[in-house]
């Protein structure tokens, strides 16, 4: 909204110009702390005339960009500007306003004003020109009345007072000023606030309300701070994470941070389950049906035996309303409700709590995924890979000597590779080379998919075998056979993939990693899909008169335990033993690399198992939490003792986006589909669990709605919602259509933004050329002036000498 300043190019002809000491840095507004250094630099720069160093156009391809830099080249090929030009250049807006304190103050003044305008203040655009400049022009930097720094500060303080406490703090924290200045700004805006409130104190009720509101806001602010510090105290492992980050860098740290995130998700899932299902049922335990077998150690592995009749599994939960306040009537009359009882409909509670817990998890996952994606994706980001490597690849968290040197080696290797790649791209690649590359790629993919298919068939065949030969009660350890086979396949196939991947050569190392993750993920998800079919499709039929839900819950328990054991074994053999072997036998100093992709996929697999099993074993998240806690310490110890950081530097933020997306899409989505199918389509067993009398689990909700319909007109809106919005398919179509429209609009907006970015980039480039052109013109004007001045001075000198010569001649 600022007016363009009137630009009058005034070329002064006063002789004082030449008398002043040349100093392009002669500005009082330059940051005071570097004054000494700048004085030295200015003398150096004035001597060499290096004010604006052109990129010397090269004779080869790089220089033929056609930008046509017309530089006034001095004798050494470097632009040689006069001192007057240098002085004018020194007072260019981009230099003085540069990053001095005054500029920062005015910039933040503008931001504060914009923030205040957004928060329900009257529009000031209609205010006439005679009003204060701070209201009229929101851009102090281009104001023709150049404000002094002190005035800018006063304006900023006044604006800060208009903000709320939270906004002011947010603004102060983000300012690039020193802490002492921020504190004085804060103090000033605080004091003024106090002064303003002073005279209002005599207005009675009005001031009382505003003071009360202010006090409430302050109390809330302090409460928020206390909660935040409490939460931060609760976050465990702060020192351990610091140690890991310091020794191994951000990429290995991202694995441990992901583990912490998974812990949070499991805790979020467990809380409603504990509160509404397990806790309530434990308070009203059902009558024990049959004899409970004694505890033997095998239960910890198989999950059966004495565990089957505990709160661990689905079968424990009753299908009636608990705590029914109804004493049995003596003469067959109505139930008289006892005092102090709250009926608790267990089937309904089970269904709703599961649904709500999953819904909350879904919302949290989608939110954190979109937040992470928003941080790591940029519209129109072209490859600025060299600049990013130079400026953003040094990890400041690394704090020890050897890891620091390792990081320097990594960056050096990366830069060398980038240069080599660039030089390679200069030369053309043969068609045969590319064809061969594609053929090898296709072959390796075919082999990997074939291996996956083979593993899947093996699991299917083994599961059919397990159905055909049922396991008797004495040989429960045979139940461990299927989980063992699955875990062995999950362990062996990735090593095979790694061997096959050694055959192909990728252009970028990141692509290699993504392809490896993809293949491993396909394997794990397909095996889990086969197992789901086995449970819901075949086991339900095979276990007709038994509690099949308990069986499925136990299967998932066994899978989790086996997975944990195999992870420990893998850590032991893959890391510890490998390091010992490579040190003793092979006499190499190299420790094994910490394989981030494989470890993260293991975590995602474990979490998928938890989500699959939570419907049939509500305490499974608790087990997962214990497992994750244990895993953290084991992995950390193994890492510190046996491993080194990966050679390839990882883009840590991309990785965490990828991890969370993988957690959401194949993992959580698959579990949600499994859950929906189990609730909607499968008939629950008739002898155990909260849904034993119903056709599907979902019917519990329908039964309740019908019960509500009979209850009377006061709650008729709920059945109405159920009939017209949930059972009817039209609202679902409507919502999907709206969602698709929103997605399409967002895609169009992104396309438009990309175009705008291209245009703006061109504009910046053009402005740069204009600037150079104008500087050269300025320089030529001053050169001419200089020459004419020298010429005049020379003429003025010659008459006396001529006279002297004439006198001598006479």
């Amino acid at each position: 909204m600022a007016q363009t300043p009137a630009f009058i190019f005034n070329v002064p002809e006063t002789p004082e110009d030449q008398g002043q000491e040349p100093s392009p840095y002669d500005e009082s507004e330059v940051h005071h702390s570097f004054h000494q250094l700048i004085q030295e630099q200015s003398q150096w720069a004035a001597e060499e005339g290096l004010e604006l160093q052109q990129r010397v156009p090269e004779a080869d391809t790089l220089g033929a960009s056609g930008s046509g830099h017309q530089a006034f080249l001095g004798p050494e090929g470097v632009p040689d500007y006069s001192t007057a030009t240098l002085r004018i250049l020194a007072s260019m807006p981009s230099r003085t306003i540069g990053r001095s304190r005054g500029a920062i103050l005015s910039q933040y003044y503008n931001r504060t004003v914009r923030l205040r305008r957004r928060s329900s203040r009257p529009q000031l655009r209609g205010v006439g020109r005679s009003a204060r400049p701070s209201l009229r022009l929101y851009d102090l930097e281009l104001d023709p009345m150049a404000f002094q720094e002190e005035e800018k500060r006063i304006l900023l303080v006044k604006e800060l007072q208009g903000l709320t406490v939270a906004q002011r703090d947010h603004m102060l924290r983000g300012m690039p000023l020193s802490l002492a200045e921020k504190r004085s700004l804060r103090e000033d805006s605080w004091i003024q606030k106090g002064k303003q409130r002073g005279p209002q104190g005599r207005r009675g009720l009005f001031s009382c309300c505003s003071r009360l509101r202010y006090a409430c806001v302050l109390a809330l602010h302090n409460l928020g701070l206390v909660l935040l510090s409490g939460l931060q105290a609760l976050t465990p492992w702060r020192y351990a994470l610091k140690q890991i980050g310091g020794q191994f860098g951000s990429s290995v740290l991202s694995y441990f941070l992901f583990l912490k995130t998974l812990l949070a998700f499991n805790a979020l899932l467990l809380l409603p389950l504990l509160a509404f299902i397990v806790g309530v049922q434990a308070a009203f335990p059902p009558a024990p049906s049959g004899s409970v077998p004694a505890f033997t150690g095998l239960e910890l592995l198989t999950g059966g035996g004495s565990f089957s009749h505990s709160a661990m599994y689905y079968g424990y939960y009753s299908n009636a309303t608990l705590n029914q306040p109804c004493s049995p009537p003596r003469d067959g009359g109505q139930c008289t409700p006892d005092a102090g009882g709250l009926p608790y409909n267990m089937p309904l509670a089970y269904l709703f709590t599961m649904g709500v817990a999953f819904f909350i998890t879904c919302i949290t996952l989608v939110y954190s995924m979109s937040h992470s994606f928003g941080e790591s994706y940029r519209v129109g980001s072209t490859s600025g890979v060299h600049a990013i490597t130079v400026f953003c690849s040094w990890d400041y968290k690394v704090t020890q000597k050897w890891p620091s040197r390792l990081q320097q080696d990594n960056i050096r290797t990366q830069l060398k590779e980038l240069l080599a790649e660039w030089q390679l791209q200069q030369g053309p690649q043969s068609v045969w080379g590319r064809l061969r590359q594609v053929a090898v790629l296709g072959l390796v993919w075919l082999l990997c998919l074939g291996t996956t298919l083979g593993c899947t068939m093996a699991v299917y065949a083994f599961s059919e075998l397990m159905i055909k030969s049922p396991v008797s009660a004495e040989r429960e350890w045979e139940l461990l056979a299927l989980p063992l086979v699955v875990c062995l396949l999950n362990l062996g196939a990735p090593y095979l993939y790694r061997c096959l991947a050694a055959l192909e050569r990728h252009d970028s190392p990141m692509l290699e990693v993504y392809v490896a993750i993809c293949r491993n993920l396909i394997l794990k998800m397909v095996i889990l899909a086969i197992l789901c079919y086995h449970w819901l499709g075949r086991r339900v039929g095979a276990l007709k008169d038994q509690c099949w839900e308990n069986f499925v819950g136990q299967e998932l328990y066994r899978l989790m335990v086996m997975d944990f054991i195999f992870m420990l074994l893998d850590t032991l053999f893959g890391e510890l033993v490998w390091r010992l072997i490579s040190e003793r036998k092979l006499k190499r100093k190299g420790k094994p690399e910490f394989d981030i992709a494989r470890n993260v996929l293991e975590l995602i697999y474990g979490q998928t198992l938890t989500w699959l099993g939570v419907l049939f074993a509500p305490l499974l998240p608790a087990m997962q939490i214990v497992k994750l806690l244990f895993l953290f310490y084991v992995k950390k110890t193994s890492l510190v003792a046996n491993c080194r950081a990966p050679r390839r530097p990882w883009l840590a933020s991309h990785m965490s986006t990828v991890f969370i997306s993988l957690l959401c899409f194949p993992s959580f989505l698959g579990a949600a589909i499994f859950l929906c199918y189990a609730i909607w389509q499968v008939k629950p067993s008739s002898i155990c669990g909260p849904f034993r009398t119903l056709n599907t689990m979902y019917e519990a909700g329908k039964v309740w709605v019908r019960h509500l319909e009979k209850a009377g007109p006061k709650v008729s809106w709920l059945p109405w919602i159920h009939r017209y919005l949930v059972e009817n398919t039209f609202p679902i179509y409507l919502v999907s259509a709206v969602l698709l429209a929103v997605i399409y609009l967002n895609i169009q907006v992104v396309k438009g933004q990309r175009k705008v970015i291209c245009l703006l980039r061109e504009q910046i480039s053009n402005e740069g050329e204009d600037k150079i052109f104008l500087i050269n013109k300025l320089h030529s004007v001053y050169e001419r002036k200089e020459r004419s001045r020298v010429g005049r001075a020379h003429e003025a000198e010659t008459p006396p000498t001529l006279l002297a010569d004439e006198q001598d001649a006479r």
Partner: protein, 187 residues
């Protein structure tokens, strides 16, 4: 949760809390770290705002900064007079900006100042050469270093004047989502 500390007044602590990204507890922890660097120099009572500066040699020997090739620049940028000697305010400011809660713009501003070795508000080719040399411990040849600097200027310089302004730098940082996680010191 009681206010048992006697180092700062209540107002001072609140001011620190409002102006940095740290909570009360973290500020006290940082103070004790600062005090540990020079126990004879730093008093245990800051209520009277003493003017105490810890010399650069002690700050540069902190484990978090000891092995960082840019530690001299970092400390210079945040110190009061640009000479590397830091007051408590400077110390808190430095770790607040380098903490994980600082926004991207603020970090980009200070990163620009750190990489601007000759303090002329531009990152010119000489600054880039210094940065690359320190990043690689001097093990790239001069030709490779200049080639890298050239490519960086190609990619990031918007108006093609041979050096990067703060806006160019911020624009480039926006394309690098890792910046927030790498420009981060845990304390």
């Amino acid at each position: 949760m009681g206010n048992k500390q006697t180092v700062f007044t209540q107002e001072q602590l609140e001011a620190y809390q409002d102006c940095t990204f740290f909570t009360r507890k973290e500020i006290m922890r940082l103070f004790y770290r600062y005090q540990d660097l020079a126990p004879q120099l730093v008093p245990l009572d800051y209520t009277s705002c003493p003017n105490v500066k810890v010399p650069y040699e002690l700050i540069g020997s902190m484990p978090e900064l000891k092995d960082n090739p840019f530690r001299q620049r970092i400390v210079q940028v945040f110190s009061e007079d640009g000479d590397g000697h830091m007051t408590l305010d400077n110390f808190l400011d430095m770790f607040s900006v380098m903490s994980e809660m600082a926004p991207r713009d603020l970090k980009a501003y200070y990163a620009f100042k750190i990489y601007d070795f000759n303090d002329d508000n531009y990152i010119c080719a000489w600054d880039l050469e210094q940065t690359v040399t320190r990043l690689t411990r001097g093990e790239l040849s001069a030709e490779e270093v200049s080639l890298v600097c050239e490519k960086v200027l190609d990619e990031a310089d918007g108006d093609h004047d041979g050096r990067l302004t703060l806006e160019d730098f911020q624009n480039m940082i926006l394309r690098a989502p890792d910046f927030l996680s790498t420009f981060h010191i845990r304390i």
